[in-house]
């Protein structure tokens, strides 16, 4: 699943940054709404549901795009444990991006809550009402949300480490402006200037 280029495609980068904004908003809305009784609780909850389903849809699209276009290879000089961590963290991202909205939707279903996205747009229940399932899913949604945020911070730290310390082109593969491979053989040069 690697592509020849040094950068993700424009479509992939657009999806990444759009979803980054959505997911960060989602995590902050979630943790904020459950700690307030102010009037903003109602619009925050409504936004959380609609945005969650939007993230689910985007994540499925992104999974397809990733399968189609792959990803640039990691630098050859990256230590194996770091490569493994990079791969595992991305599996975790895809798993959470898809699972969290489904868990939330299932939790509302098990709690006999209507799932209203906007106006007349509603989703059907995907589980029958059940105290036990509601509790299980509530706990999963709650703890996985913190795991998700921790993963986001880890991802941010790793991206900055690539960009500021290793300067190996990994950061630019998602964050850099579009560039032509032949004009910016970023990884090659990054590897070359660090002979040790």
């Amino acid at each position: 699943m690697t592509s020849a280029g040094t950068q993700f495609t424009v479509l992939q980068r657009s999806l990444h940054w759009l979803m980054a904004a959505c997911i960060l908003a989602m995590l902050f809305i979630g943790v904020g709404m459950v700690s307030t009784i102010m009037p903003k609780y109602v619009p925050l909850l409504a936004t959380h549901k609609a945005l969650g389903i939007a993230i689910l849809v985007l994540a499925l699209i992104r999974l397809g795009v990733r399968a189609r276009y792959g990803a640039p290879a990691l630098p050859a000089d990256m230590p194996e444990p770091m490569k493994l961590a990079a791969h595992l963290s991305h599996y975790a991202f895809y798993a959470l991006m898809i699972a969290m909205p489904l868990i939330g939707w299932a939790m509302l279903s098990a709690g006999a809550y209507p799932v209203v996205l906007y106006g007349n747009l509603r989703l059907p229940a995907i589980l029958p009402p059940s105290e036990a399932l509601h509790t299980l899913l509530w706990n999963a949604h709650f703890y996985l949300a913190f795991a998700f945020f921790a993963l986001v911070l880890l991802h941010l730290a790793a991206a900055l480490f690539h960009g500021l310390v290793r300067k190996d082109g990994v950061f630019e593969s998602m964050a850099g402006l579009p560039s032509h491979d032949e004009r910016a053989p970023v990884r090659q040069s990054a590897g070359m200037v660090r002979p040790g």
Partner: protein, 354 residues
Amino acid sequence: MPRPSSSSQPPLGSLALIAAIVAAGAGVFAYTAGWLSPHRLTPTKLVDAFAPPGGPALGHRRNHAKGICFTGVFESNGSGAELSRAQVFTRAQYPAVGRFNLGTPDPNEPDAKVRVRGMGLQISTPDGEVWRSAMIDLPFFPVATPQAFYEMLRMSGSKDPDAKKNFAAAHPEFAVFGAWAKSAPWTASYAEEPYHSLNSFIFVDNAGAEHAVRWSLLPSAPVVPISDDDLAKLGPNHLEQEIGDRVAKAPQRWTMAVTIANPGDQTADPSKAWPEGRRTVEVGTLVARQIEPERDGPCRDINFDPTILPNGIKVSDDPFPAARSSAYAKSYDLRTSEAKDYPYRQQTAAGEKP
């Protein structure tokens, strides 16, 4: 942090910058979560404030814990359609499920000890919309804001002899509740009680015009006043027995009356009843046809969250529905996670294992 190849100087500045950025992200998250704001009124605090000195009744609603389910229909007469586009106001019958309850955190409190009675109600329409509400027989709320309500709960649990006096001084509206509690007649039946929305909501009509309203369910049954002493003599659970017997003999009815605010009427303060003379539209009749114990009843797992509204009804600037929604969700999450403590489980288990 390890580096694949060493450079002449460790990039301490870069690492410090990364650490600072990550720490800032975590800090903003912690702030949003309220972890840095111990004075924020959270749903957890509000729900905990209901708990009696011995702790909450596990597995039960954290307030209005004592109750009984009913099912029936809402017979819409079509008159509400001029005010709201929600299908529930189109002339037809819609299934209803609800719960008569007492405003107490103790599911075993004797009836005559609880001044406030309530009804949770859910009406479903064929278009898939759901309208939930949680109403009480008190025609206004004791306090003006959710924060004041929290302070009221804290006052009730306070050992300070001056707590009530201080609270009443800070919240003059509370005296109105005191007067009501002393003077309003008790009844010996859930069927003789009115149930009021208390909060203001916005009805949106087909043209998109908005109407600020409150609604009440007014009983068809004649009201027979009784003293609380005489009610106590009828037994600690008289209300549930009585409503079961009564509905078994004949369905019980309430007229739903929607009151429309005049321009200038405030909608944000449920402790202030609107003046007399407001236009009122009778939009239909709630009919309770069957009573079922909460234990196995259809109302047991419903959170009667007053912000669960069909398209055509929405919250107003009244801050209470949001606060109630947030706190009800917390109560629901707690009680559903404590299902093993609810008598339902124990009795079922005992019944199934001879």
